[in-house]
């Protein structure tokens, strides 16, 4: 078994993924079958956000990855220019 921070981080990731999965499943799959007067609807945003939030998060991820790649490429270019 891994030790120390590795275990904590790993189990933390598992917990986060389970929480997100359960909440999202309840939101998308279960809520339409529950009577609209039920109190549980108070804990969930309007349904349009169920697609908008993951879409926005995905775009942010792509943006971040693109920026990171640009940064690394520029750093490499500058390093080779210095050597020349």
């Amino acid at each position: 078994m891994a030790t120390g921070t590795d275990q904590v981080v790993g189990l933390g990731l598992v917990a986060v993924s389970l929480i997100i999965f359960t909440y999202y499943t309840a939101w998308v799959i279960l809520l339409p079958f529950i009577d609209s007067q039920h109190v549980i609807h108070k804990y969930f945003l309007p349904r349009a956000y169920a697609v908008a939030i993951p879409l926005a998060a995905g775009l942010m991820l792509l943006l971040f990855v693109g920026l990171f790649i640009t940064y690394v490429m520029l750093k490499n270019q500058k390093a080779t220019k210095k050597v020349q």
Binding site: M1, A2, T3, D6, Q7, V9, G10, L11, G12, L13, V14, V16, S17, L18, I20, F21, Y24, T25, V28, I29, P32, F33, R47, A50, V51, P54, L55, G58
Partner: protein, 92 residues
């Protein structure tokens, strides 16, 4: 057929089924709760795939078999090697 072609074929099939059902092009009268579940389905599958990936990575990080003794031995060997090479004149 290559794997990529297979995946694209499967995705195209599922995508067209979903599009046909959500736009009502097949003329089926689905109950409104089923339609409510159907239209976010691609986003839902993507999010659950992401959650599965994240959970698997986290689980394997947590259950990785560390060998602490071997790690310490390796670190001391690395230090020995660096000292030896530095003595022989190599600069790091």
């Amino acid at each position: 057929m290559t794997k990529l072609a297979q995946w694209l074929w499967g995705l195209a099939l599922l995508g067209s089924t979903w599009a046909a059902l959500t736009t009502g092009a097949l003329g089926l009268e689905l109950p409104s709760s089923c339609r409510e579940v159907l239209w976010p389905l691609p986003a839902y599958l993507l999010v659950s795939a992401g959650c599965y990936a994240l959970g698997t990575v986290g689980y394997r990080v947590a259950t990785f078999h560390d060998c602490e003794d071997a790690a310490r031995e390796l670190q001391s060997q690395i230090r020995e090697a660096r000292a030896d090479l530095a003595r022989r004149g190599m600069r790091f």
